[in-house]
């Protein structure tokens, strides 16, 4: 499938379709549906140094062509991941790339887990780190690190300093402009960015008259947010043409994936769609292969093509 082979910064991928963090477990959950190496790679659930129980239920709510989640980054913690998950995943992943997604309660916790990932490289055959900055900074009154440029910079800098592994920073759309965050990640030596994480959202149960989610608000994902992710992917590509991008948000079929690639992402990550349609990822790979073959082209040639006939990102956006 060399039409599909693509480089995303330091990573070479057999195809441009990965599984997104928090929707693929630790890599060992989809065996029943397809072999791991059907995908170009996958990103683990966000790992903290210590395990987290996560938020009280209900943790999900349905929305029009999407869903809300308030999982609360429940995870087994780094040590259990190394002991219980890594050996099996190392064995089965084949050609698929594994990115370990990390986070903490404050910038220094990010740095510490990044050091552990670096230290445990012999035990965990991971190909890179994805930094989930969309977390409240517990030590700073809960400001979301991914929405605050200063804390964002501090977080990325420390992670970069802690490891020589490829580092991708996963950006939050809950900001006025994603571009400065992407630029900051690039300044700080990140190898690329992942665009986007979930949007803030809430549903209210009109019968109980309370928010559906146990925590009130959560993160919006699914087909509903695809245009938001494509918009920011296009903008970041226009401003930083050399910065590798994972396009994420609402991808459910190969056409959706192609929109991100044309907008400038080297590869995409599929999340929510895999809950309702577990084989969405491999079907997207097959669809892209067919599309490239029919046009005798390759993914490498398609990436960013939407910019070629003239840049549309310099203009301010007049809606309404």
């Amino acid at each position: 499938m060399s039409r599909l082979a693509v480089r995303c910064g330091p990573l070479d991928l057999v195809n441009p379709v990965l599984a997104a963090s928090g929707t693929f477990g630790y890599g060992d959950s989809f065996q029943r549906f397809f072999p791991l190496d059907a995908l170009g790679g996958f990103v683990t659930k966000t790992l903290f140094l210590a395990p987290r129980h996560g938020n009280p239920p209900p943790r999900i709510a349905e929305t029009a062509a999407g869903m809300l989640n308030s999982i609360g980054l429940a995870n087994i913690g780094w040590d259990r991941f190394v002991a219980e998950k890594a050996p099996a995943v190392n064995a089965i992943r084949g050609t698929s790339r594994m990115l370990v997604n990390i986070a903490g309660n404050a910038p220094d916790e990010y740095h510490r887990i990044a050091e552990r990932v670096e230290a445990d490289r012999a035990l965990v055959a991971c190909d890179g780190i994805e930094v989930n900055v969309s977390c409240p900074n517990v030590k700073e009154g809960g400001t979301n690190i991914g929405c605050h440029l200063g804390q964002f910079r501090e977080t990325v800098r420390g992670v970069r300093a802690a490891t020589t592994l490829p580092v991708f920073v996963k950006l939050s759309p809950n900001v006025a402009d994603v571009v400065p965050f992407a630029a900051c990640a690039a300044d700080e030596g990140a190898d690329g960015v992942s665009i986007i994480n979930t949007l803030y959202g809430m549903r209210i149960d009109v019968d109980t008259r309370r928010p559906v989610l146990g925590t009130g608000s959560g993160g919006l994902s699914g087909p509903a947010i695809l245009p938001v992710g494509v918009h920011w992917t296009y903008r970041v590509r226009a401003a930083l043409p050399d910065l590798p991008i994972f396009g994420i948000g609402g991808i459910a079929d190969w056409r959706d994936a192609l929109e991100y690639l044309l907008a400038g992402a080297q590869a995409v990550q599929v999340g929510t769609a895999a809950f309702v349609h577990p084989t969405a990822g491999p079907e997207i790979v097959a669809g892209l292969e067919r599309w490239c073959a029919e046009r005798d082209t390759t993914i490498e040639r398609v990436v960013g093509a939407a910019h070629r006939a003239g840049e549309l990102a310099d203009e301010p956006v007049w809606t309404g």
Partner: protein, 271 residues
């Protein structure tokens, strides 16, 4: 979502399938059987569940809905579905031939007790898993007595059974909260005094308040062998989304109902 119509058939995906409905049969107020042809070679155990969703988001229905396997009969998979909200109302409104995503079997099934009496305790549509369970008990625990204790709010809500279905149970006790059919009151009331019975194994499914009450009564009575099928919101059904948590009895934290359940020993859960 821009998939072509009609949707492309999915690639071989293990337990992820697109199946077309054989039929939707109403069997009581707002309740119906959804029937599918059993895919060749596919099996499932009593108490396991499936995630059923539209092939594409339809009228505000996007996520899969979890349903216990209700019955396996005439080479069909049957799901007993009560129309409560958006998705279940939509499912009930479908006609035969409609394509649906059907992912499963998922989760931990009922294990079968080695006891002479099996008491199946159903509240409302919690009745669903007990047809397949009763068939399995008949096959693997021959000569034991299978009792169904089944409560509904009112007579009209009672699921009508054909002779084959009714014949699965040696004893059938019906209850209604309003006394309009069978014995008045809740099943749990009706069971008072019996819970210590050393010959009986208990299998329960129903709304959370009913199960909480039953778990409390069992703890008090020192019931030895019981399995409950619980409910929680689910996005995936196979352990990746972390939505389906129930508080664990041992220490803090949660169990994932789609992996450690839906069938649990009531003593595993903090009620």
């Amino acid at each position: 979502m821009t998939t072509d119509f009609p949707p492309a058939a999915p690639m071989a995906g293990g337990d992820a399938r697109v199946l077309s409905l054989l039929g939707v049969d109403d069997v009581g107020e707002g309740t119906c059987w959804l029937r599918f042809a059993r895919p060749a070679g596919a099996d499932c155990d009593p108490g396991q569940f499936f995630m059923i969703s539209p092939v594409e988001p339809t009228g505000g229905v996007f996520l899969g809905r979890p349903f216990s396997i209700g019955d396996v009969r005439d080479e069909q998979w049957r799901f007993l579905v009560r129309a409560l909200g958006r998705g279940t109302r939509w499912l009930r409104s479908l006609g035969s031939g409609a394509p649906l995503r059907v992912v499963g079997p998922l989760g931990r099934p009922f294990d079968l007790a080695a006891r002479p009496v099996h008491r199946l305790v159903a509240g409302g549509v919690g009745l669903a898993p007990f047809f397949h369970l009763a068939r399995r008990l008949r096959a693997e625990r021959p000569g034991t007595r299978i009792e169904l204790w089944y409560g509904e709010r009112t007579a009209a809500a009672h699921t009508e059974m054909d002779s084959d279905e009714a014949g699965l149970f040696d004893v059938m006790e019906r209850f209604t909260d309003d006394g309009s059919r069978g014995r008045p009151g809740t099943v749990v009331d009706g069971l008072a005094g019996r819970l210590a019975d050393p010959d009986a194994a208990w299998y329960a499914c129903g709304p959370h308040p009913m199960l909480r009450a039953l778990a409390g009564a069992m703890a008090a009575a020192g019931t030895e062998w019981a399995r409950f099928s619980l409910e929680e919101r689910m996005a995936c059904g196979f352990g990746v989304c972390q939505a389906c948590v129930v508080p664990r009895a041992d220490g803090p934290g949660y169990r994932l109902l789609c992996m450690d359940g839906p069938v649990v020993d009531p003593r595993e859960v903090a009620w």
